[in-house]
Symmetry: C2
Subunit: 348 residues, 2 copies
């Protein structure tokens, strides 16, 4: 980047953005942030197979918001949606649990989908693509230990097929961006998300389920479950922090870069369950159980930590919300949502 | 495999085989071996985009040989071709150099193609699928060092996009086999080929080019070129050894297994070039040159060795032909082929 002075920054203020997979947890939170920071347009592209109208209903009154029902497997729809767009955030993907059910469909979304998005960005000269990748590019199993930095290899020995397929599909997605940068000058930043949690949490992320399931059991008066001894590491990132990372990836001068985005520190599953119990105001104690047979589980070996120093350097981002505050917000949202649903049910 | 006595062996003698990508270096050599060992049928499926009729012309008189012009992207053609087949060897793939030219096409072949092959094997109850994978699943760059065993992770930091996409596509192909085994009981063996060389050598494998290009320069009286200091490691496998590994993968009781198949020992590029010079009877000395800009190169970091102990255990295979003997055979074939072509040209 020393060879020329051209900035790769896409300012949020006054910018026009397309969020693909926009009706998701991350999409809707990023949309909120971009709008709050003065974006001129935020288009939300989604096929609503996973994304939900509930996530974006609150945006419908905003004139700057445009909702596009479309499918990333249909290139003409992407070509239409990317016209006059400055920045594209590509979130749409199939994760491990769904990949396990249908690898054909999942690979179409995670590979052909990325190809189509890149093609559309190229055709319409989009200024920057932010591609949502995953710490799944570091893989699974006993090899995943210590500090995970951006050059850490992909470990897969012993992991379930669907998890490996998911991780490898993200590796390919990243490289398709890199290839398009080299060959056609497409500017991009890969943001490798660690496990996302926060308000509007869904049931699709294998790792994030721990929080929701624990809370669900507490609400029913059942003892929360910890698989094994609970020493397994998880590293989460709060969705609001992640939304800031997406915005920073657009605004920063960075291009042709891949950075980890993770929360302040990892937790063990036992710490996590205890935190949910405490923040739920419960007196229950966790029950240690054996892993459920036949269910896709993502296990790490030793303790690990997803390092986010490169993100600070490349896009000027670091996390602000720790797990205690993040889980407090998530549980508050969930209680309010459930209360509202109950109230609605009572009126009928 | 202790829980039941069923054998996963598919005997070559009397067996019916489909070789997908059969008109290739590996396909034609494996066909020769299967026929020599008494196979009842060897069908060669190829779209002839890379495969060549030259490779299989010598087989045309054999009544047990059937040539099927078809494309793995067309499932109906695979469904027809796998009828009454005992064992399928899936070789058709796009390697790094072609992947660099056209990643859309390459990913279709390497992922959708494998999906179609698995689908056809399932539908026609093929007894075993042997999937040709690659040591590319261990990746590239400085991380690739020491003994590469089957659980070695995938290193990609610093490698060209097309190489990473190729390696990741092979990882996905392997896992699709594993998934089909788990869900539908498809028996399979993944054979991870190291760089193949031997008679009928083609120009598509980035690593094997060293042998052919060196010989070509010697023939023209030009000094053979070594990139850099020539200390870089390559680990080849002779195509005849590889054909035996394919046959053993069918005959062995093994299923749900992935094994490396490599030659007796690795070489440095300088040793390799010197060996080709010596076996060509040349007095030329190698010239050290800088890497060519813009050309896809696969570089290893430190010295490495692709361990094949697991193959001996799982499928009872080990290599027999060392580089000296293998290159001698390759050069003899090439000289004879060129002489025959010249003679043919003279007659016209």
């Amino acid at each position: 980047m020393n060879t020329h002075q051209k900035s790769h920054s896409v300012p949020v203020k006054g910018g026009r953005f397309l969020l693909i997979g926009g009706a998701s947890l991350v999409g809707s939170t990023t949309a909120d942030l971009l709008l709050a920071q003065g974006a001129a347009e935020v288009a939300l592209f989604d096929n609503f197979s996973f994304g939900s109208t509930d996530n974006i209903r609150h945006l419908e009154g905003d004139k700057r918001v445009r909702i596009v029902q479309g499918d990333i497997l249909r290139l003409p729809q992407l070509l239409a949606a990317t016209e006059n767009i400055d920045g594209v955030l590509h979130l749409a993907a199939v994760m491990t649990i769904s990949m396990d059910r249908d690898s054909w469909g999942g690979l179409d979304i995670n590979i052909r989908g990325v190809q189509n998005v890149i093609e559309a960005c190229r055709a319409n000269r989009v200024k920057k693509l932010v591609f949502a990748s995953s710490n799944a590019v570091y893989g699974y199993g006993p090899g995943v230990a210590g500090d995970l930095v951006e050059s850490t290899p992909f470990h897969s020995a012993g992991a379930p097929p669907a998890a490996i397929i998911y991780g490898a599909s993200k590796i390919i997605g990243e490289q398709l961006c890199r290839d398009a940068h080299r060959k056609d000058g497409l500017n991009y930043v890969v943001v490798r998300y660690s496990t996302v949690y926060g308000e509007r949490q869904h049931y699709r992320a294998a790792n994030a389920l721990y929080i929701i399931e624990t809370h669900d059991r507490i609400k029913k008066g059942e003892r929360p479950r910890v698989i094994g001894d609970g020493s397994e590491t998880k590293h989460f990132v709060y969705v609001g922090d992640l939304a800031r990372a997406n915005a920073r990836a657009f605004e920063a001068d960075a291009t042709d870069a891949a950075v980890n985005v993770s929360g302040p520190a990892p937790v063990t599953t036992l710490e996590l369950v205890k935190l949910v119990i405490e923040l739920s105001g419960s007196k229950l104690t966790p029950e240690h159980v054996e892993p459920e047979a036949g269910k896709v589980r993502l296990t790490s070996g030793g303790a690990f930590r997803i390092d986010h120093a490169a993100a600070e350097k490349a896009i000027g981002w670091k996390p602000e919300i720790d797990m205690r505050e993040g889980i407090r917000r998530l549980l508050k949202w969930r209680d309010e949502t459930l209360a509202a649903e109950t109230a609605k049910g009572d009126k009928k």
